[in-house]
């Protein structure tokens, strides 16, 4: 039976924490009460991308985009929209930047318009727990095409021609990697998926797993056929419970349909898939550490070479790719290498998914063609910086990457451009910073993360990064000298050159790139003992400007440590010895009389 309307409730992690499960239950209840449950289909989908406006509910066929929905809104949606056909205006967009109040079909809004959804095409469209819905959108057709119409080498040739490069960070040409794995001779080979996604703030891979798990399964089956492997592992972190559950359901359904298993659909090809849950160590995302961890060993990197394509899991040739890399592959096989290569720049083809976060209005998940400028992402898709602040820089590549300063906002984003300006694509975290962010503090934040996550196997990383962190601490406390800055720079390059694995080799990148573009800020901390953005507490003091103070006493009341004194209608003063620089007074003052 064809339903007259489909109500899609976002079941991504963000919206789920905003109670989308309850919203689903309430909608279901009210549909039943009105005997609409046969006419209207209710579906829980993966992430829609516009997480800032979640929880999100979309009603088709008109594509009405409801946001910030609460369980208590369910009744009104059913009674008004479904029963009477009147859109619930108050749940439409509240902010013009996403523009959903003028055009109802959300594909036309600035947030979605500049995007190009290849990897995320099914996210927020299908029910990830229903294999039939995946099939409806040509699911497992690419696999079928590969196995019945193509030779394994043909599949690899298509990938080579498409120009697809690894989305896990390094950007290695995928077709070439598959070729290496195919050319390794062995009685047993493996296909592995890296779904560890350890970058702080990144959730691209999680959203694919949650929204379209069958796409990953299909791609890994294609990989198995192409390189000659009949067994696959997905290494996914246990902190992604929804992703893990949906993957388990998807694998189960594929087994029931005979899509996984022996002699798949009678084609003679066999493939099975297992999950391995990681405990959430950043280093386990590094491919050789991941292989160790999958084998049940300690998650420490191995020497490379030999590369996994030669000696990987259990010493057998292993193909390892990232979730997003895989998720591109079924569509490439169906639509062709030329179609894929028509998107992007000369050396970076296709699209890239970014987790947009930080000081930006439309935080969420975006997929853009390679070569889109940072300006488009920040100003159009992201809707700009909140509170009228100025864009200062964006960090890509997480703790392994670097920052892109405002002066380079028109750089087309692709692998090679990012490297040349001292950042990197990384797996797709994109954190926007405004004038209130201190760049030394940002570098320190990322370095603290890598110091914590270093596995300790090699000295440059284990001890070098710790020392580097200590220098940054000195800088932010105003205790560093200009000589320390030189030492810092030298140490950065030493660590990069001598660490064993990618974690150590890239850990100093945030320091190097912030030092490159914001040297004056470092110098201000060291020489003038000032933090220009007022973030580093040791270098900021709070002061009440006597001319502006009207003596209302608000600040005195909010100060948690009683550092402010003064009589009503008289000038107030802050005692710098007691002040803990929490900023509560600034927030409370209506006259803007307190400055850092």
């Amino acid at each position: 039976m064809l339903e007259r309307a489909h109500i899609l409730v976002c079941g991504g992690t963000g919206c789920t924490s905003g109670k989308s499960n309850e919203i689903y239950a309430e909608l279901s209840k009210h549909l039943k009460e009105n005997e609409l449950d046969k006419e209207v289909k209710l579906i829980m989908t993966g992430c829609f991308g516009l997480c800032a406006k979640g929880p999100i509910v979309v009603v088709y066929p008109d594509g009405t985009f409801y946001q910030h929905v609460k369980p208590t809104d369910a009744e009104e949606i059913v009674n008004e929209h479904i029963l009477k056909g009147r859109v619930v205006e108050r749940l439409l967009n509240d902010d013009k930047s996403a523009g959903t109040d003028e055009v109802k079909s959300f594909n036309e809004t600035p947030f979605y318009k500049s995007q190009r959804r290849v990897v995320l095409k099914n996210c927020g469209v299908i029910d990830p727990e229903n294999i039939d819905e995946y099939l409806a959108y040509d699911g497992y057709l690419a696999y079928q095409k590969a196995v019945t119409e193509m030779q394994p080498q043909d599949v690899i040739d298509v990938l080579k021609k498409s120009g697809l490069r690894g989305r896990g960070g390094g950007g290695f040409p995928t077709g070439l990697k598959w070729q290496f794995a195919r050319d390794s001779k062995s009685d047993q080979k493996y296909v592995v998926c890296n779904a560890d996604e350890g970058d702080p703030g990144a959730f691209m891979d999680r959203s694919v797993l949650e929204g379209d798990p069958h796409a990953l399964i299909e791609a890994m089956m294609i990989a198995g056929y192409a390189i000659g492997a009949d067994k696959g592992y997905v290494y996914v972190r246990a902190e992604y419970p929804i992703a893990v559950r949906r993957l388990q359901i998807a694998i189960q359904q594929a087994l029931e349909y005979g899509i996984l298993g022996n002699n798949i659909m009678g084609t003679g090809h066999s493939f099975t898939l297992e999950l391995r849950l990681g405990a959430g160590a950043f280093v386990c995302g590094e491919e050789t550490a991941l292989l160790n961890s999958t084998e049940g060993k300690r998650g420490e990197p191995r020497q490379r070479p030999p590369f996994p394509a030669v000696k990987g899991l259990f010493q057998k040739p292993t193909l390892i790719n990232n979730v997003e890399t895989y998720a591109n592959i079924p569509t490439i096989l169906l639509k062709g290498a030329d179609w894929f290569a028509s998107m992007g720049t000369e050396k970076s083809k296709g699209t890239k998914v970014f987790a947009l976060g930080g000081k930006i209005k439309n935080t969420g998940l975006v997929e853009i063609p390679m070569g889109t400028t940072l300006r488009t992402i920040v100003e159009e898709i992201g809707g700009g910086i909140p509170n009228g602040k100025r864009f200062k820089a964006a960090q890509t590549g997480g703790p392994s990457g670097g920052c892109i300063p405002a002066a380079l906002i028109d750089t087309p984003i692709d692998y090679d451009n990012l490297i040349s300006i001292g950042s990197m694509m990384g797996s797709g975290g994109l954190i926007v910073m405004d004038e209130d962010n201190c760049m030394v503090d940002i570098a320190k934040f990322f370095l603290e993360f890598t110091v914590d996550e270093s596995c300790g196997k090699c000295t440059p990383c284990r001890i070098g990064n710790k020392r580097l962190y200590e220098i940054l601490e000195k800088i932010t406390k105003g205790e560093a000298t200009m000589k320390d800055l030189d030492k810092m720079e030298e140490l950065c390059y030493y660590i990069k050159e001598n660490s064993l694995c990618g974690l150590g080799q890239t850990a100093p990148n945030p320091v190097i790139s912030t030092y490159r573009y914001f040297k004056d800020e470092y110098i201000a901390h060291v020489r003038d003992k000032k933090c220009p953005s007022g973030v580093c507490k040791a270098l900021t003091s709070y002061e009440i400007i006597p001319e502006k103070c009207v003596g209302c006493g608000l600040c005195k009341r909010v100060c948690p440590v009683g550092a402010i004194s003064g009589e009503i209608r008289e000038k107030h003063v802050i005692d710098p010895d007691k002040c803990i620089k929490c900023g509560a007074c600034i927030a409370s003052c209506k006259k803007n009389a307190i400055k850092k």
Partner: protein, 127 residues
């Protein structure tokens, strides 16, 4: 285990059912049923299910069925409007299940609007 043919059958069946999740502006036809109190009281529910059934059975992929509120001419309910890409919309009145099926066959499949059921025709006759 499912064979390749069985999987294809599932794809075909599901495609029909999920068609209305495509953005409305990508389809050739948009069929809108008035589903306000007036429409529902006049039997718009039956009209709607007849439309959706017919479209699914005939495997029409270029059509989305949608609903709207009160169109403002309540005495003519149930009302169905057919929007065709690049053409003026056609407003049908008193559309019961039978008329709905005829509209799908005549207007959408054969491309010929059924003049006698339209609002314009009724208004002209009344004069």
């Amino acid at each position: 285990m499912k064979t390749l043919e069985e999987l294809q059958a599932i794809r075909d069946r599901m495609k029909g059912q999920m068609n209305n999740r495509a953005a409305a502006d990508e389809s050739d036809y948009r069929v809108v049923v008035g589903m306000a109190t007036c429409g529902i009281a006049a039997g718009a529910r039956n009209t709607l299910s007849a439309l959706t059934q017919e479209i699914e059975q005939k495997r029409l992929e270029n059509v989305v069925v949608s609903q709207t509120g009160c169109i403002g001419i309540c005495k003519y309910e149930p009302i169905v409007e057919v929007f065709e890409q690049g053409k003026e919309k056609v407003t049908y009145i008193h559309v019961d299940a039978e008329r709905a099926r005829q509209i799908v066959a005549g207007h959408i499949i054969n491309g010929k609007p059924i003049t006698e059921y339209t609002y314009n025709y009724a208004v002209r006759e009344e004069k």
